[in-house]
Symmetry: none
Subunit: 217 residues, 4 copies
DNA sequence: TATGAATGAGCTTTCATTCAT
DNA sequence: GATGAATGAAAGCTCATTCAT
């Protein structure tokens, strides 16, 4: 079929079997991501993962112990870029609390809407939370808790300085994330069937939250 | 063996089987709910459903066409009580918009936190949204859209009357639902492993939303 | 192929699927015996057992939990006739000790040489003793120990009555079985490649044992 | 990592691998013996053999053609010491026939009970007799037939000289081996679960055989 | 010599589905 | 209506074997 394409694109039977050695595991995990997203954990066949990765079933089992390990490793590996973005956001966050709140919502939105990996991994974690509880905890501790910590501290200081109200919401940073999360759930549920105006939705969320937190008069 | 016992005490053979006829399908759906919750759609075995329902696999196929139909029917049937509660809430909703908002959050919270069926069906719909898109749409049209319509109208009128700000959030009633949804997702993710103070979380949400919507000054 | 044979012999696709219900498990076990004998436990494919039994792999798993259970059940079930023969021998054993010894060797020989089941099960138990130790113990307790008990008692009484010598061999009835066992092992090892004159071998064994046990004048 | 340690201590890279060259095959066969004993032929994984031998699967295939050859070579190689003992026993056998018989039983017993290799190879040959018939024949021709030949001759001469009875057993030297073989089978079957008093058992066997062969009167 | 990544056929086991009763 | 034996198409996983390095 693809025999006559130029050498770069073709992947004949054994020629480059060995050449790609070090990249194989990551290729498998990327293929696994696509299949798990397409079918969910239980309904995904490792054979399809193999085909997509351009290897055979046996190769998967050479690199990974079993299907569960493939899933866990996939989540870990594909989450790393997300972590980098999160880290970067935290380092360059604005000092002003209002701006901070706003940019936080933008960042969270951007993360989940523009990064397909982040979005779909969230779905997979919700779906498979029962099967992989430790993975959920690990993920939460790594990606969510640090940012919540920062938020709690930032909001506390802002309240101290009188820049925002002393609202009970200051203790629940996840409250501020909830519109983004809800938007994401909506996308997962309707994946394109219902048009969602994320931008206006987000602006509305900013409006309510900022007005709700700024000191009255 | 027990064939010759008197008819009353024995729940064994012919009589009982036929007497229970009309309840069978519902018994099967209830059992199916438990198993789907426990394992997810793909990993649930119809045989386990049968055992839990006290029938055999064949009986399930007598009442339902296949596994997919069992799932769809289960979601429909177990959602009916949820719909009744929703209907009732809408009929006795308070007139005052502030009270309405507050009671709406309470209602949504009560629905998802106290009604295990509602909560778990939401999880199942998120997990299986790809496999059952029409079911998601149907569910949304029946249970969510009407209430959103009411909200949109009520908030519009309140803004008209100057009782609340003309916020862009008035067009996104789901924004007001998002804290409850987020809380629910948290429960699904950590199911008991992390203690969640739902009451204080909810109070915080009310505080921010009300303050954010009330006219300033 | 066999389509035109008379109805008795033909086993078309679904016609008599159900008719044979009660005999299925035993048919499977008989087929399993043949395959285990042919290939040993590990190298036997349940698919071949299924084919030989005229069913599909799934049917085996309907009746038996797994491959190990098939093996264990097979040994148990095919050993029953052996147990009946053993029981019968014990009930009609001759009173005279010399005759008893002789008939015992004949019986043991007949059991192992004329009953293919008995012979091959012994081989399987030796081969798989490590994998199925409880089965070995169970088998020994059921088929060997009772007969050894009888022997010990009978020989003890004969010695008491002065009919045979007080040899230390009286405490080891298995010693008297050993020529038969050795003959059996030889058959297992050479299965037909070396001609073995079992009759003369057995007569030789009787000669030595009887001469060795009779009192020296 | 350890590449820069001094050459003596490190047993890591190039040097050592090449230096050990000549011992490799034997190391592999020894490891193979252990694994074949542990799991039987079919259930033994060449990978486990490799791990035990401290090499990789590929190395095995460098030295041996395939799994069958590993088995055959293992049996041959690990049997050599057994052959040496047998040879030595034959060269220093006592002249007196009674003593010879007794020492023969002792020798056979010692061989099988004190030499784990001899004992387990016997088990493996029984188990895999169907798969490796030529190996069984070869083994028998090398280790058993010569000794049987000697026995037949020695017993014949003794009968000629009137030292023992002209029993039909003189033609079946394996009869005299059978108690030892039976003892060995018992050990294989119960491997430690049942205590076996080998010494008394052997004494009993000697008693019966000698009394059975000595001329009456 | 030795390695180890890769293969692919084949194994045990599972399970939605069917159908004679 | 209900049963349960039977099917058969996979699915997860294993492992002897190969081969570029």
């Amino acid at each position: 079929m693809a025999k006559f394409e130029n050498a770069e694109g073709s992947s004949s039977n054994r020629a480059d079997r060995i050449r790609r050695k070090p990249e194989r595991p990551m290729e498998i995990l990327t293929a696994a991501f696509e299949e798990f997203v397409r079918c969910g954990y239980a309904a995904t066949r490792l054979e399809d993962v193999a085909i997509r990765a351009g290897v055979t079933k046996g190769t998967i089992y050479f690199h990974f112990e079993n299907k569960e390990k493939v899933f866990v490793q996939m989540v870990r590996e594909l989450s790393k870029p997300v972590w980098q973005k999160t880290d970067e956001f935290l380092r360059q966050r604005p000092d002003d609390v209002v701006e901070f709140l706003s940019s936080y919502l933008d960042f969270a939105h951007g993360l989940l809407f523009e990064d397909r990996h982040a979005r779909e991994i969230l779905r997979l974690l919700i779906s498979e939370a029962t099967r992989f509880p430790e993975l959920v905890d690990e993920h939460f501790a790594q990606f969510v808790e640090p940012i919540f910590e920062h938020l709690r501290k930032g909001l506390g200081e802002a309240a101290e300085a009188g820049k925002i109200r002393r609202s009970p919401a200051l203790d629940f940073p996840d409250l501020l994330l909830s519109p983004v999360l809800a938007l994401n759930i909506a996308m997962l549920l309707f994946s394109g069937r219902k048009p969602i105006d994320a931008k206006r939705h987000l602006d509305a969320a900013k409006d309510v939250f900022l007005m709700g937190l700024l000191p009255r008069d």
